[in-house]
């Protein structure tokens, strides 16, 4: 077994494979399919200060090698999470990372503050990049000053590992990564979904109730990989890479591009146990390439 442990801020993960927010529920939904304790971490659903109903149905459309979603942060609010879900999670032996979303600066601060008090939650992933709600933080994520402001304020109240999740719907993701690094983010994670759209030619209607939605899956992998590579070269904090990862080879590509850990999202829908296969495959790859540790391949892309 190669050494798969990896560090993001103060958080040490037993392996660098995390399931992505919004694609793995609270982990419990997957108990029949895999031992979630073997995962490096689980990013739970986007959590907001208040309960949200999300967007109307239809919320999903299939696209070439991917899908669009317009869930719109449906969740029962942070208090429900704390009182009802959190206690159930504490029996597991993996890192639960709460994905925090909001419409206003105050939402983010208040939600983060509440999560700060949960001893079993070592990190939050601050989602400043959800394209699916009018005020889903995407406005924060596409403007470097607003991104910096929300991170700065959350940093004041949140004292554990703070991962900031970046939007790919921008001209210059590097400048946003640098801005949030500058005000105290412990890590950045990327990419969130790309804003897309699908139409039913026969009915002449959009396939999503919200017209546009977030694109994910293998189709976005080349864009995600490029952004991870650009950001990893620009910032000193760890980069958590994601976007279309469906197998160990995909994950390796993100490590080579500079990711310290990776997240598996949409692929969970097709194969619920895929994350364990990724962990196993990464280990096999390291052994085959005579690497002792995952660190040997992080950022190891040979570009001459």
């Amino acid at each position: 077994m190669a050494n798969l442990t990896t560090k993001i801020g103060d958080l040490t993960l037993k392996n660098p494979v995390i399931t992505a927010s919004g694609t793995f529920g609270y982990g419990e939904e997957y108990l029949d399919f895999l031992d979630i304790n073997q995962l490096g971490g689980i990013c739970v659903k986007g959590t907001t200060l208040h309960r949200r109903e999300g967007n109307p149905y239809p919320r999903m459309a299939e696209t070439p090698s991917g899908m669009l979603n317009a869930v719109g942060l449906q969740n029962k609010g942070v208090d429900y999470f704390i009182n009802t879900i959190y206690p159930r999670l504490t029996v597991f032996e993996t890192a639960f990372i709460v994905n925090v979303s909001g419409s206003t600066l105050e939402d983010y601060i208040e939600t983060a503050e509440k999560i700060n008090s949960l001893s079993f939650i070592p990190a939050i992933e601050l989602n400043i990049s959800c394209p699916n709600v009018k005020q889903g933080g995407m406005a924060f994520g596409v403007d470097k000053d607003m991104a910096a402001e929300v991170v700065k304020e959350v940093r004041k109240v949140y004292h554990k590992t703070l991962i900031v999740k970046l939007s790919p719907n921008v001209t210059d993701i590097v400048s946003i990564a640098e801005a949030v690094e500058h005000v105290g983010a412990d890590a950045v994670s990327l990419i969130n979904t790309l804003l897309g759209m699908a139409i039913d030619a026969e009915t002449q209607k959009p396939l999503l109730s919200t017209i546009t939605g977030g694109l994910s899956g293998p189709c976005v992998k080349p864009i995600a990989l490029r952004m991870v590579w650009q950001v990893a070269h620009a910032v000193k904090i760890p980069v958590v890479g994601m976007g279309g990862i469906s197998n160990a080879r995909d994950a390796i590509e993100f490590f080579l591009a500079g990711a310290t850990a990776i997240e598996v999202g949409t692929a969970n829908f097709i194969d619920p146990a895929v994350s364990l296969q990724v962990i196993q495959g990464v280990n096999d790859y390291l052994q085959r390439h005579h690497c002792e540790s995952i660190n040997d391949i992080i950022g190891a892309l040979k570009t001459v």
Binding site: G22, T23, F24, G25, E29, Y30, D32, F33, K45, E53, G54, P56, Y57, P58, R59, M60, A61, E62, T63, P64, S65, G66, M67, N69, V71, Q74, G217, T266, N268, F269, I270, D271, P272, A273
Partner: protein, 257 residues
């Protein structure tokens, strides 16, 4: 109820009329317990335009042969590819998923199962289970024309079958809601089919104070309650058709037309 990811083998693939086919899948080991109304998420590997799994109701379970039947209508690339499956092909399924139709209470004996189009699929297994439990369900099956009536002889094994076709080419002419059998009294109605049909039936049931369960077919990504894509509006807010359903009592639903 434990969900399983597993490979099953195609034991039969029977072409039926009107672009439907019946796929029988089997394995050597006994199947897990499966309830009527549950569904599977099937992986299709050989079709570039198919990315997510495809959802199909369980049409019937042959426990002796460890066989799951899927009644499928060809509507797009995924179902077209499945229609070409050969005996011995292996298919990956996640199953059994979703809740199920609830069994009648002790005071409910006059049962009507109303199906339209390929929506008849889960009603066969439901009818079989009801018959097994000693009920005599009636089936009211609707289609545009005679060609759209699938598996009739199979339904006849488990109860009386009434037919409505829009063009009158079989049974009574009109929609299922126009059928004269609805003048009889029923204690419980189960329905699955096109949304307008299910809405009309549930409206009828509500007017007549008949207990009514519908099986919804929302678009799914995960099928296991993780993605929140498949929601329907209920009086408790948005609920997932894949885990809170696919079967809902019409009293719970806030039908969006």
């Amino acid at each position: 109820m434990k969900k399983i990811i597993g490979d099953l083998v195609v034991s039969e693939n029977i072409p039926l009329k009107n672009n439907h086919f019946l796929l029988k899948l089997t394995q050597a080991e006994p199947l897990p317990h499966i309830l009527p109304g549950q569904f599977v998420q099937l992986k299709i590997d050989d079709t570039p335009s198919v990315f997510l799994r495809r959802t199909f109701s369980i049409n019937y379970v042959d426990r002796k042969k460890n066989e799951i039947w899927l009644l499928i209508q060809v509507v797009g690339d995924g179902t077209r590819s499945l229609s070409n499956c050969k005996i011995g092909d292996s298919l990956n399924l996640i199953y059994p998923l979703g809740n199920s139709f609830s069994m009648p209470t002790s005071s409910q004996s006059r049962l009507l199962l109303v199906g339209g189009g390929v929506g008849v699929a889960p009603l066969l297994f439901l009818g079989a289970i009801l018959a097994e439990k000693g009920f005599s369900p009636s089936f009211l099956l609707g289609a545009r024309n005679i060609d759209g009536l699938i598996e009739l002889e199979k339904f006849q094994q488990f109860g009386d079958v009434y037919i409505a076709t829009e063009d009158g080419s079989a049974g009574e002419i009109g929609f299922v809601t126009d059928h004269s059998i609805l003048k009889n009294s029923f204690d419980k109605i189960y329905t699955c089919g096109p949304t307008p049909m299910m809405q009309a039936i549930s409206q009828f049931a509500e007017n007549q104070f008949i207990d009514c369960e519908v099986s919804l077919e929302n678009k799914m990504a995960c099928g296991i309650g993780a993605c929140l894509c498949c929601v329907t509006q209920t009086h408790q807010g948005n609920q997932c058709v894949c885990t809170d359903g696919p079967v809902f009592n019409t009293k719970e639903l806030a039908w969006q037309i």
